[in-house]
């Protein structure tokens, strides 16, 4: 497994409790057996196209995952983030998660 599991439709306080173990499992597998292609500084894509609802707790969990990967010298980036996700990242000042993908996404309503 190279890339982390895709984010679900609902990324909120109601789902983060279930999502954390899922990503933690993936992270452990990733740390034990780094994929052959994963090198320091490599960017890992987190599929965020399905996200239709996100709140501060949801985004915090993604940032936490990004922090964990950073310790493994990898960079997390959202892949094809939905408009909702792009807006949320902009609102929380973490556009760097989506910066390279933003041109592909629906940027309507980006506020920062």
């Amino acid at each position: 497994m190279t890339q982390p599991p895709a984010l679900p439709s609902e990324l909120t306080i109601y789902t983060v409790g279930e999502l954390r173990p899922l990503y933690l499992d993936w992270l452990r597998t990733f740390q034990d057996e780094p994929p052959s292609g994963a090198r320091p500084g490599e960017t890992l894509d987190l599929d965020a196209q399905a996200v239709s609802e996100v709140d501060g707790a949801g985004l915090q969990m993604v940032l936490s995952l990004a922090n964990s990967l950073k310790q493994n010298h990898c960079v997390l980036q959202l892949f094809a983030p939905s408009g909702v996700m792009v807006n949320a990242c902009a609102a929380l000042g973490v556009e760097h998660l989506v910066r390279s993908a933003v041109s592909e996404a629906d940027t309507d309503g980006v506020v920062a």
Binding site: V16, L24, D55, G56, Q60, N67, A88, A91, L92, G93
Partner: protein, 747 residues
Amino acid sequence: MSHPSESNSFVSEALPAFISESQEQIESVEQLLLELEEDPANRELLDALFRCAHTVKGSAGIFGLDEVVAFTHHVETLLDQLREGQLALTPSVSTLLLQCNDQIRTLVASAASADGADPADVQAREVLVDRLQQAGGTGVQEVAQVPATEHPAQPTDVDASTSRVRGDWHLSVRFHTEIFRNGMDPLAILNYLRTLGHIPNLVCDQLAIPSLDSLNPEDCCLGFEIRLETLAQRDQIEAAFSFVRDDCTLHLIEPPVTERDYAELIAATPENPRTGDLLVALGAISTPQLEQGLASGTETPAETASTPTRLEPQEVEGEQVFDSAEPLLQKQAKARENRSNATPSDDNRFIRVHAEKLDAVINLLGELVIASAGGLLLARQSRERQLTEANQQISELVEEIRNGTLQLRMVPIGETFSRFRRVVRDTAAELGKDVRLDIVGGDTELDKSVVERIADPLMHLVRNALDHGLESPEERIAQGKAGQGTLTISARHESGSILIGIRDDGRGIDRTRVLQRAWERGLVERGVTPPDAEILNLIFAAGFSTAEKVTNLSGRGVGMDVVRRNIEALRGSVTLSSDPGKGSHIALRLPLTLAIIDGFLVSVGPSKFIFPLDAVVEVIESADAASAVDALGRNIVELRGQVLPVVSLRALYALDSPEPERCSIVVIRSGNSRYGVLVDHLLGQHQTVIKPLGRMFRSLRGMSGSSILGNGEVALIFDVHSLSQMAAQPTARLHHNPANSTESHTS
């Protein structure tokens, strides 16, 4: 988004809680407005007032109650002008706001019902909105009017209408760990903040978020440094955080923000060692400035200055941000640990429980009390020592549970009293009187069900005092009194009852006029003048009214007789005293609870009776204690030199069981008087679950309820006050309510 059906069910489930909480906020608004009238310069009251209105508006928005939001918005706008000192809280503004609050109350209440809006209310609201706008003038920009989902207008440097200069504010906010669990979302707050102006830059303290293995996903670790370009005032910016006031730490720096302000911010947040770096990332200060500030600033704490945990110059996306992550995370973990170890001294947590659920528990508890009494009785009859002891223990535990559970339903009466502030204010104004309301003992507690049922009688008594008792300022001054009248409502506990007093310093009751009216109404035979105390009591007679003109206040079809009936239905009593020219005092005595009391069980023949234990003073055991008779033909007993009237239950209720050789007299206290009750046997203390009397027996004098004993027998509970009146009457008049036996009454 969630499915529509789910949201609908969420709304319908949460709506009652919203309505109940909003009603509390609306009550608070009213109280705060009334307090502000007394103390118009009190900034805290004004802020609290604004918060209440803002909370109602905010929560109504969540439930899509657009009318509440729209109307409250106008009120909020005016409140804001008051806070900014653009407007003074004159009595007319206060009256307007109170009327608006009434409309908000109506709007919130109508959210609960399916009925459409009342056209009269809609019209009234339109009129109020016009008046609000007139009161506020038209020159104020309504900053908060932009809906949260829209983008702000392009920034302009100067707003012509207000001549306010748009400035760059700096906000440093750290949300507390509990915020998610408290149902709030920092994302929503930041989105709202954007509606106040333009945010050119915002930096998230990403390092504060732990890595996934140590993250509790329900703990919030989000913090931000924000630059905000806005015309809004400090209050408006703070209002964006009003819902999370206790769930975040906010530093707000007014424009123009100087280097020194930033240095002070860094010094003020030693727990956030990354603040300086975040400010650099924000572009607020440069790295050399930060270094200079850290090295020189006396405001900078020594620890931070000597061991700067500063990051390398960075971009917000922060490739280098993680270099010092470990020590910082440790620091943060330590800070969090410290916080969690802190004693939760001010952590006043409440659980909101539906009153019906509590009532159901109390009903079950009543059954439990009866069942445990039954168990104890059977155990005693079996003469098995261990079984009796075990049952005794159960019984004691049940009693503890009983006390604890009844305590849950106890509420301070002050809330009910506070409602009268508005009544007194409006009524006095209507009548052209000047009245001060004093509330004494508002924290006295009594059963919620009693509180609910005395609110109306109390309201009537207060209105009565205002209408009939207190005089106009001119009249008072002419009599050498202060122009302002005083109405005092007080409450205190006294031997198992609550005593509520309503005292005014008005004209008092004119006994001649009362008597005249009683003669006219045929309540008293013409020409007969009863004793003074009885004349006053005529006011409580059905069909009595001394109001010479029917005002809005009197003439509502509710007389003092209804008040007395309502109070007596609660096993309470009303007494009235009056000093002509000096004022009147009405005292209401009510039981603390309507559910379960400690009783004292006695028997006369096979019939069982219960006295409230608090009313029992002592017991005299004597064969012929009550054989003496006074001049009025009443049985009396001499107790330590004091003569007490004695009621014989056997004679009173015509119980035809044979008299025992020895009998006992239970001495009962009622108010200031004492009297004796002749009974056959004393059966001891008994936890008494109060059941209402059946319709047939409501007319039975001296009784207030019934109770079921452990063996299934029924016992009647005495109303000690009405029994005392019967004890004071000559014996001959006691027999007009003959009854056979208590068992036949209740079977």
